[in-house]
């Protein structure tokens, strides 16, 4: 497959690996922000190709993992209301809420359906005019414009039975929160390539400048990631901290202005609670006034109930890069993808699941 195979070329990975080994003279702690990248690093065993001086710290870039438990509980409560069809991306169904997950709600009779695109959720609403169709939409800046398009389409089609339960998280404020935390060890970032495909990378210049950290935009295939590491290490070794793009075939500085326009039309920036991490100012999107009739939180006006997390789960520490999943006592023995205690074990891009599947 064009644009995939050539970026999985083992020989090329080895060549870049040699370059990285030559360039590295001291220990460096670097973070890949995006969980999709964590997944690739583990799947292709990239740590084997890197010198032991490089400590890869896995970031919080897994929207499924950081969706607040209150919202999972709300989605479950809404799904159990009569005549509701709750639609969401597949990964959301197994994320543990306080008492159950959406799969268990489904077993109890809730009509919960997996969709692959927001436009599928719109189709469900169009096909079921007598039901209330809720789209439980999570995502970073990559997914948020598509989720916003569902609302735009619902309005255009005059659908009165559609609403969005939204949990959107934004990457740059999270990077700042991590950098300004007291125990941060991060010296350089690989920024999330597909977030940048939408948003561009202008936002990273002030962060690189303020915290004096190099930031390299990286893709998802092994060659892309190795190239990004090489560029990052070269900067670290020479003491520079600029923003560079190692994924230029799809990322431009400006990003996709059409997608950004949809975001502006439908959402406004809000403070957002990240599961396991806490409140990060200005790190989310909520539906703005002109689309509020499509906001499931308003349509169903549910109260926040008391939430409860597994006391064993150290997801917060994992998501902030303080520990590796293997340091969690529940890892492998109590917590598994079939029986997850925390969200990072559910999603294929959660660090715990990536370690479960690929760590040797």
């Amino acid at each position: 497959m064009k644009y995939i195979d050539e970026y999985r070329d083992k020989e090329l990975v080895e060549k870049i690996s040699t370059k990285i080994h030559k360039a590295t003279t001291k220990p460096w702690a670097i973070m890949e922000v995006c969980g999709g990248q964590t997944h690739s690093i583990m799947k292709y065993n990239l740590l084997e190709y890197l010198p032991s001086e490089i400590d890869f710290i896995h970031g919080p870039g897994c929207p499924v993992c950081v969706t607040p438990i209150e919202l999972i509980d709300k989605a479950i409560s809404i799904s159990l209301i009569k005549d509701v069809i709750l639609t969401s991306y597949g990964d959301m169904l197994r994320v543990p809420g306080s008492t159950m997950d959406l799969f268990q709600a489904k077993a109890k009779g809730a009509d919960v359906r997996i969709v692959f695109s927001p436009l599928d959720a719109i189709k469900v609403a169009t096909d079921n005019p007598l039901k209330k169709v809720v789209f439980f939409a999570v995502g970073f800046e990559t997914t948020a414009p598509a989720n916003a398009m569902a609302v735009v389409e619902a309005k255009r089609r005059n659908l009165t039975n559609f609403s969005l339960l939204a949990a959107h998280v934004l990457v740059p404020p999270a990077m700042e929160a991590i950098l300004s935390s007291q125990n941060s060890r991060i010296q350089g970032f690989i920024a999330a390539g597909h977030v940048c495909t939408v948003m561009g990378y202008k936002q990273y210049f002030p962060i690189a400048e303020k915290y004096k950290v190099p930031i390299v935009i990286g893709g998802f295939e092994p060659v892309d990631l190795m190239e990004a590491v090489y560029m990052l290490i070269s900067q670290l070794e020479s003491g520079t901290y600029s923003v560079e793009n190692a994924y230029s075939r799809v990322v431009t500085k400006e990003g996709n202005l059409h997608a950004q326009k949809v975001l502006e039309d439908v959402f406004e920036i809000s403070d957002q609670n990240w599961r396991g991490i806490g409140l990060i100012p200005n790190s989310g999107f909520k539906i703005n006034r002109s689309f509020e009739s499509f906001d499931a939180e308003k349509v169903f006006s549910l109260q926040n109930s008391k939430v409860s997390e597994s006391p064993l789960c150290m997801a917060g520490e994992v998501l902030q890069g303080h520990i590796k999943p293997t340091a969690c006592k529940a890892f492998l023995n109590i917590c598994t993808p079939e029986n997850p205690l925390g969200a990072p074990m559910v999603s294929s891009e959660g660090a715990c699941a990536a370690y479960f599947h690929y760590h040797k």
């Binding site: 995502g139 414009p145 598509a146 255009r156 997608a259």
Partner: protein, 77 residues
């Protein structure tokens, strides 16, 4: 979540001006994708698609050049 995969546009349906849709070939699997954010995109181009929306066209020249540079970089001792 943020996975987006490359595919080739095989046909475009412009009949609905509000929703520009395309058939995209992902290594033999044909799926629908919305092209609203790439109004200039054409049949035959490669796009990167996420949850049914094309996020950007792949810059072919850039892709070739990067690979070329990386291969060369390995050659220089």
């Amino acid at each position: 979540m943020c996975r987006a995969i490359p595919g080739k546009i095989i046909s475009i349906d412009d009949s609905n001006p509000e929703l520009r849709m395309a058939k995209v070939n992902f290594a033999g699997i044909i799926k629908d994708a919305c092209l609203n954010w790439l109004p200039e995109s054409k049949v035959g181009e490669y796009v990167i698609v996420h949850v049914g929306f094309a996020l950007n066209t792949i810059d072919e020249q850039d892709a070739e050049q990067t690979l070329h540079l990386l291969r060369e970089m390995g050659e220089i001792p």
